[in-house]
C-alpha cells in the first residue's frame, strides 16, 4: 500500500458499497456525490472521462434510493456508480469512440449491455476515454488527449480502455465496462491494478458496441475485486436476439466456485508467453503467484502453444481487415463530422482524412490492403487459417490443464510517449492478451503486487469457452493468495486532502 486508505465511499468495493446501501448506512445519491467529488479532484490529473452525465446519474441514483427505501433493490449493482467506455452507445449521451469523426454524436439508443446495466440499477457516471475506436494500448491515440495512470501520472493507464481503468482505479467509479478486442480490458486493468475480464465471445451482446473488429470485440468488466467483476458481468451477460453472434442458452454459473480454491486443479504455464520479452519484475511476480498456487494445492504443468508467437501477426491482419469495413460508415453523409468538398466522393475522403487519427488511418489502410484482390489469400486468408490452428493449439493445451496462465502485460505501466514513435513496440504490449481474442475464450487479469516503482503487476488466467466458473474460481484464489489491496497514489488521503 502506497498510502493510508480513506473512509471515503468512493474507495469502497461494489460488494461493500452494496452492503452499505442495503442496510441504509449509505445512500445512492451520497455515494454518487462522493464519486463525483473524487472525479472533480482527480480528473485534472487523469482525464479519465470524456463526458460526465450529471443529470442522468443523479436521476438514476435517486431512483435507486427510492428502491432501497421501498425495500426493493434490483440486485448487487443497484445504486452503484459505474463508468462506461465511450464506444458503448448511450441513448441521449454523447458517444464518440474518442474520435473527432464522432464528436457531438448522440445515439438514439442504448447498447444492450447498457440497457441491462441500467435495469440492474447501476448509476452511469459518465463516458470514459479510450484509444480512438479502441485502437491502441495506452489511450494516447485518443482524439481528445490521453488519459493518465493514477499510480503515476507520468505513465499511461494502458488501453484501449484506459479511461475506465483510471476511473475505477482512482475511485471516480466503483466499477466499469470496457471492450476487449486484443486485451483492451485486461491490459489497462493490469496497468492500473484492477481485475479486468474478457468473457467468452458471444456471452455479452455486442449490440450498441461501436465495432472495431467484430469477430474479436467483447464487452468486459473492470473492478477492484474478482467478486465485483462477477457482479458486473452477471448483470450484462446472456443471449440477445439483437446480436446474431450472441450465445443462446444459459449463462455459466460464475459465482458458485469463488471460494472453492485450486486444490487438485491443473494450472498450465504457457511456455511461449512467460519467457522472452517479459520484464524481470513481471516475471518474478508471475513466479511468486505460481509458487503460491502450487502451495495451495494446484498441480502446475508446463504447456506449449506453438502458434501463440504468431498471434500478433494474425491479429494485425484480421482486426484491421474487419475495421476497414466497420469504419467505412463514418463518411460524413448521415452523422458526425462532415468536411465539405466539391463532390460527394471528395466530401467523404476529406471527412475521413480529417476525422480519423493516424493510428486509425494506419489500420484502415492495412486492412484495405489485406483484403484486396490478389492479396487476400496471402494475408487475410492465411491469418484465418492460423487462427484456426491456434484454436486447435488451445484445445490441445486444455487437454493437459484446466486453465492456462501467463502475465497479462509483459511490462508494468510505461511512460507517455515511450512507445508512440514505434507502432510495433506498442503492438507488442498485447502479446499475452491477443491469443484469447483470436480463440474467443475467456480470460481475466488479476493484480498480484507492485514492482520497484510501485506499479501494479498482474497475472492472467485463461479458460476454455464458457469456462467462466473455472476462470473466476482460479482468479479468486490468486486474489486471496496475493492479498493485493494497494491503492494508487492519487486515491490516497494525502493527495485528496484539501
Amino acid at each position: 500500500m502506497t498510502g493510508p486508505a480513506t473512509n471515503d465511499p468512493a474507495d469502497l468495493t461494489i460488494a461493500a458499497a452494496g452492503a452499505a446501501l442495503r442496510t441504509g448506512d449509505l445512500g445512492a445519491v451520497e455515494l454518487l456525490d462522493a464519486v463525483i467529488a473524487r472525479a472533480s479532484v482527480t480528473e485534472p490529473h487523469l482525464h479519465a472521462y470524456l463526458t460526465l452525465d450529471r443529470p442522468g446519474s443523479r436521476d438514476a441514483a435517486e431512483a435507486a434510493d427510492r428502491r432501497f427505501a421501498a425495500g426493493e433493490p434490483s440486485g448487487p449493482l443497484d445504486g452503484i456508480p459505474v463508468a462506461l467506455k465511450d464506444n458503448l452507445c448511450t441513448r441521449g449521451v454523447e458517444t464518440t469512440c474518442s474520435s473527432q469523426v464522432l464528436a457531438g454524436y448522440i445515439p438514439p439508443y442504448d447498447a444492450t449491455a447498457v440497457t441491462r446495466m441500467r435495469e440492474a440499477g447501476a448509476v452511469l457516471v459518465g463516458k470514459t476515454n479510450l484509444d480512438e475506436f479502441a485502437m491502441g494500448s495506452s489511450t494516447e491515440n485518443s482524439g481528445f488527449g490521453p488519459s493518465r495512470n493514477p499510480w503515476d501520472t507520468d505513465r499511461v493507464p494502458g488501453g484501449s480502455s484506459g479511461g475506465v481503468a483510471a476511473a475505477v482505479s482512482v475511485g471516480s467509479a466503483l466499477g466499469g465496462y470496457g471492450t476487449d478486442t486484443g486485451g483492451s480490458v485486461r491490459q489497462p486493468a493490469a496497468l492500473c491494478g484492477l481485475v479486468g475480464m474478457k468473457p467468452t465471445y458471444g456471452l455479452v451482446s455486442r449490440y450498441g458496441l461501436i465495432a472495431f473488429a467484430s469477430s474479436l470485440d467483447q464487452i468486459g468488466p473492470l473492478a477492484r475485486t474478482v467478486g465485483d467483476a462477477v457482479d458486473l458481468l452477471e448483470a450484462v451477460a446472456g443471449f440477445d436476439p439483437k446480436d446474431a453472434t450472441s450465445i443462446r442458452g444459459d449463462v455459466p454459473p460464475m459465482r458458485r466456485s469463488l471460494d472453492t480454491g485450486v486444490a487438485g486443479l491443473r494450472i498450465g504455464v504457457v511456455a511461449e508467453l512467460t519467457g522472452e520479452g517479459i520484464a524481470p519484475a513481471v516475471a518474478a511476480g508471475f513466479r511468486r503467484t505460481i509458487d503460491a498456487l502450487a502451495g495451495a494445492g494446484a498441480d502446475i504443468v508446463d504447456v506449449s502453444l506453438p502458434t501463440a508467437p504468431h498471434a500478433i501477426s494474425v491479429y494485425y491482419l484480421i482486426a484491421p481487415a474487419e475495421c476497414s469495413a466497420n469504419l467505412a460508415r463514418f463518411d460524413g453523409v448521415r452523422y458526425g463530422l462532415r468536411v465539405d468538398a466539391a463532390s460527394t466522393e471528395e466530401m467523404m475522403a476529406a471527412t475521413r482524412a480529417q476525422g480519423f487519427g493516424p493510428e486509425v488511418i494506419r489500420r484502415v489502410l492495412l486492412g484495405t490492403y489485406a483484403l484486396s484482390a490478389g492479396y487476400y489469400d496471402a494475408f487475410y486468408g492465411q491469418a484465418q487459417k492460423v487462427r484456426t490452428l491456434m484454436r486447435r493449439d488451445f484445445a490441445a493445451a486444455y487437454e493437459q490443464a484446466d486453465v492456462l496462465v501467463c502475465p497479462t502485460s509483459p511490462t508494468t505501466a510505461f511512460t507517455l510517449g515511450e512507445r508512440t514513435a514505434d507502432p510495433l513496440t506498442m503492438y507488442y504490449s498485447d502479446v499475452c492478451t491477443i491469443p484469447c481474442n483470436l480463440t474467443g475464450d475467456p480470460a481475466v487479469s488479476v493484480p498480484t503486487g507492485l514492482d520497484d516503482h510501485g506499479l501494479p503487476i498482474s497475472f492472467q488466467v485463461m479458460a476454455p469457452a464458457l469456462g467462466e466458473e473455472m476462470l473466476f474460481r482460479v482468479a479468486a484464489e490468486v486474489e486471496r493468495l496475493s492479498g493485493f489491496d494497494a491503492r494508487p497514489a492519487l486515491a490516497t488521503s494525502e493527495v485528496l486532502a484539501p
Binding site: C89, S372, A373
Partner: protein
C-alpha cells in the same frame, strides 16, 4: 462474311415481399414517407448489428427450389465493400463464394421450342437506399443537391444469376417472363418491373457462330420493362457485331440502356477495376439449413408454371390459351376445379381464355369479382356434352353467368338458349323452310345433295341456332325421299 451469335447471361434482382427487412424489424412497405421505415440497423448507425430474417431465407429457398437448385446446407454471408451515399454502412451484406442455392435451371418456350437455361446461383443480399438527385432537369450531372431515402435500405433482395445460355433477345425476354411467373407463383414477391421489385442486368457478348471462346462482354443495366430488356439486348448485339465486324475491340464495361435515345451508353469506365474486397461477414454466423426445414419448404411449393403448362397441354388445352391460364392463378384454379369435376379441359380453357378474359377486360374486373366458379364451368360443360345447349349458345350462357344472372341452367332457361330437340317443333320449322324453298327441295328430291346444308342452315337460323342440327338433318333426309 462472318456470322455472329450472341451469348447472353442475365442477373435478376428480386425484392422479397417479406413483412420485415432482411436484417432488422423495420416494415417492408412502399409509398411510406421517406426515412420513416428505418432504425439503427438499416441506417447503419454506429453499434447496430444485423440479424437475419428467417422469412426471407425461406423466400429465397422457395425460389431456389423452384428453379431446381441445390439448396446448400451451410452458406455464408459476406461483406461487399464500396462507398456510395445510399449504402449506409458503405458495405452491402451479400453472399460471395458460398451462396444458398446453386446449379438450377429454368425451361423457357420460344416459338414452340423448349430451351433449358442454366441457373448458376441464387443468393441473398440487402437492398440499398435510394438517392434522389435534385436539379431542374433531374439529371445527375446537373444536380446541386441529393436527397437520401433509406426506406428501401435493407429490404431483402434475391439475386438470380443465369448461365450464359441465352442467345437472342426473344429468349432473354422469355426467360424474364418465365422467371417472373415462377416468382409470382411462389408468392414471395410481386415481381413488378415498373416498381423496381424485379430488375434485370444483362451480360452480352458476341462471337463468330460456332466459336467456342466467349467474346468480351458488356454489362447492360437500367432496363425497367420487358420491352427495354429486349431492345437493349438487341441494340447491344447489333452494336458489338458492328464493332467486331469493323475489326474493332469490344471494351469490357457497364452500359446503361437509355430509353430516350433507344441505345446503350457507356458508364464510368473506372468501374471495371472495382475491387469489392469481399470477406465473411463477422456479425453473422453461417446459415445452416436443416433437412427437416428444407423438406417442409419444398413440400409447401405450389405447382410450378412449367409443370402446369405441361399438364394442361397433356389435357388437350390449346397453346393459345396457356398464357392466360398460367399467368393468372385464379384462372388456373377455375380450370383445375372444372377439370376435377369432370369437364373437358380444352373447352373450359377456351372459354376462360376467350369469353371470360374478354368480359373481364371489358368490365375492368378480375375473375374473383364475378360469380363464376368451377362448378358453373363444369355444369356448363356437361350441358354442352349432353347437347342441351349448342357450343355457340354456351358462350351466351357463360356471359349470363359472369353477369350474375344465375347458374348455367337458370341462364339457359331465362335467356331461352336451350337446344330444341322436340321433333314436332323441329318438323314445323322444317316445313316452314321447305315451303319457302320449293326449288331447293325439288333439287334434293332429284338426288342433288348440295342444297341440304343450306336448308339445315335455314332451319338453324329460324330457330335462333337452338335447333339440334343432327335431328334437323335426319328429318330433312326423310323429306328428301319423294312421298311414295
Amino acid at each position: 462474311m462472318t456470322v455472329y451469335e450472341a451469348v447472353i447471361g442475365i442477373e435478376t434482382h428480386i425484392e422479397l415481399a417479406t413483412r420485415s427487412k432482411m436484417f432488422c424489424a423495420c416494415a417492408v412497405g412502399f409509398g411510406a414517407e421517406p426515412n420513416t421505415d428505418v432504425c439503427p440497423v438499416c441506417l447503419g448507425l454506429p453499434g447496430a448489428l444485423p440479424v437475419p430474417n428467417v422469412e426471407a431465407i425461406e423466400g429465397i429457398v422457395r425460389i431456389g427450389a423452384a428453379l431446381g437448385c441445390e439448396v446448400v446446407e451451410h452458406s455464408l454471408f459476406h461483406r461487399k465493400n464500396y462507398f456510395y451515399p445510399d449504402l449506409p454502412k458503405n458495405y452491402q451484406i451479400s453472399q460471395y463464394d458460398v451462396p444458398l442455392c446453386i446449379n438450377g435451371h429454368l425451361d423457357i418456350v420460344v416459338d414452340g421450342e423448349t430451351i433449358g437455361i442454366g441457373i448458376t446461383r441464387v443468393h441473398m443480399e440487402e437492398d440499398t437506399g435510394k438517392s434522389i438527385h435534385g436539379s431542374e432537369g433531374g439529371r445527375i450531372h446537373e444536380a446541386d443537391h441529393s436527397l437520401l431515402d433509406f426506406n428501401r435500405s435493407g429490404v431483402p433482395l434475391v439475386e438470380v444469376v443465369s448461365e450464359p445460355d441465352i442467345r437472342t433477345p426473344d429468349q432473354a425476354r422469355a426467360y424474364a417472363v418465365e422467371l417472373q411467373r415462377v416468382v409470382r407463383s411462389l408468392g414471395v414477391s410481386d415481381a413488378r418491373l415498373e416498381a423496381g421489385s424485379m430488375r434485370f442486368d444483362a451480360n452480352v457478348s458476341v462471337r463468330p457462330m460456332g466459336a467456342m471462346p466467349y467474346g468480351t462482354r458488356t454489362e447492360v443495366k437500367n432496363m425497367n420493362s420487358l420491352r427495354s430488356l429486349h431492345n437493349a439486348i438487341a441494340y447491344e448485339i447489333a452494336r458489338q457485331t458492328q464493332v467486331v465486324s469493323d475489326g474493332g475491340i469490344v471494351v469490357q464495361e457497364t452500359r446503361h440502356w437509355n430509353e430516350a435515345v433507344r441505345g446503350t451508353i457507356s458508364m464510368r469506365s473506372k468501374e471495371e477495376s472495382e475491387d469489392y474486397r469481399y470477406f465473411q461477414e463477422p456479425d453473422l454466423v453461417p446459415i445452416e439449413i436443416d433437412d427437416a426445414w428444407r423438406e417442409r419448404v419444398m413440400a409447401s411449393l405450389p405447382e410450378l408454371p412449367s409443370v402446369t403448362r405441361s399438364r394442361y397441354t397433356a389435357a388437350g388445352v390449346e397453346p393459345s390459351s396457356l398464357a392466360n391460364l398460367i399467368d393468372d392463378p385464379a384462372m388456373a384454379e377455375l380450370l383445375d376445379g372444372a377439370m376435377a369435376a369432370g369437364a373437358e379441359a380444352r373447352t373450359v380453357a377456351n372459354w376462360l381464355a376467350g369469353e371470360v378474359v374478354a368480359y373481364l377486360r371489358q368490365e375492368g374486373r378480375s375473375v374473383a369479382d364475378t360469380p363464376l366458379d368451377a362448378t358453373a364451368l363444369a355444369d356448363l360443360g356437361a350441358m354442352v356434352g349432353r347437347g342441351e345447349v349448342s357450343a355457340s349458345a354456351a358462350k351466351d350462357v357463360l356471359r349470363g353467368v359472369l353477369a350474375g344472372e344465375g347458374t348455367p341452367a337458370e341462364v339457359a332457361d331465362r335467356r331461352d338458349l336451350r337446344r330444341i330437340s322436340d321433333s314436332s317443333v323441329l318438323e314445323a320449322a322444317l316445313d316452314a323452310v321447305l315451303s319457302d324453298h320449293p326449288d331447293e327441295l325439288a333439287r334434293v328430291r332429284a338426288g342433288d345433295p348440295k342444297p341440304l346444308g343450306y336448308l339445315v342452315g335455314q332451319v338453324m337460323k329460324a330457330t335462333g341456332g337452338r335447333a339440334d342440327p343432327a335431328m334437323v338433318s335426319e328429318l330433312l333426309r326423310g323429306r328428301a325421299t319423294p312421298p311414295a
